[in-house]
Symmetry: C2
Subunit: 165 residues, 2 copies
């Protein structure tokens, strides 16, 4: 009979964590170069990019740049809602603003007005749910929800993000 | 009676997309600097980091570095499973390997063995579901699943990722 000892389990767990640490790719190097929150900043940036890609797919249809495709629109909306609802609370530690770190354009205002940030974030999440219900229901439904979703992105960016150019 | 015209809706949609384009932060600049897939690479890197953070929280408990906390363990496992199940298929375009791009350590082998990659990815996703069922059920349950989850990370990293040091 083969048994896994407790020590064996811990050893496996340690290996697993060591393997995972590498998931940060050059995360450790980044952290050294860019400060203690480099991984949090890179993670939230990556998740924002993922959302932007999926909104981009919906927006291209809304604007008529790409032919409306109900299945593709639904998929993009599902992806967006899933990414919007990720618990990213650990990715916004106090002190990870653009005053302290070169790798972010998050303004200190985000932390100074955390309640406002949370409220605007909730609006965005709700808008992605509405989009999820509409995107597959026809171009006009998608366009109408895009007109509501966009401002929820802008509300946060305008208040808590440095201008991008 | 106030009506939103079709042109008005499209204008709002265009604004929304413009606002969102900025979600890439300096994504456009990155894309210019690092090649056409800089955003995909940054997005998948960020999502990997998010997963790693949550596995790290579970691993710290598994190793006894942090006291076991059922609620915290469950939250980390929920986060991990949600991030593992994101449809990230658009983040791995052909040609976004480390032979073509400096910003990634994904090996060409990933694309040469796409079926293998998909199978290993499915194993990882299944392991995160098992962890989700176990993490809140006690330290030993968490440790046992960590011993199964870790190798699913390692299987992909060993086959499709350049060594990190």
């Amino acid at each position: 009979m083969k048994r896994t000892t407790s020590a064996g389990i811990l050893s496996i767990a340690a290996l697993a964590v060591a393997a995972l640490a590498g998931a940060g790719l050059n995360g450790a190097a980044e952290a050294q170069d860019k400060g203690p929150f480099a991984n949090q900043i890179a993670a939230r940036h990556g998740i924002m990019l993922y959302r932007a890609m999926n909104i981009g797919a919906l927006g291209a249809m809304a604007k008529g740049e790409v032919a409306y495709d109900a299945a593709a629109a639904q998929k993009a909306a599902d992806n967006l809602a899933a990414a919007a609802h990720l618990d990213d609370s650990m990715l916004w530690p106090e002190g990870s603003d653009n005053g302290a770190h070169a790798g972010t354009i998050a303004l200190p205002a985000l932390w100074a007005d955390k309640a406002g940030f949370d409220a605007k974030y909730a609006d965005f999440r709700a808008a992605t749910e509405a989009m999820q219900g509409a995107a597959g229901q026809g171009l006009e439904a998608l366009q109408a929800e895009m007109g509501k979703l966009g401002p929820t992105c802008g509300a946060c960016h305008k208040a808590y993000r440095a201008p991008t150019n």
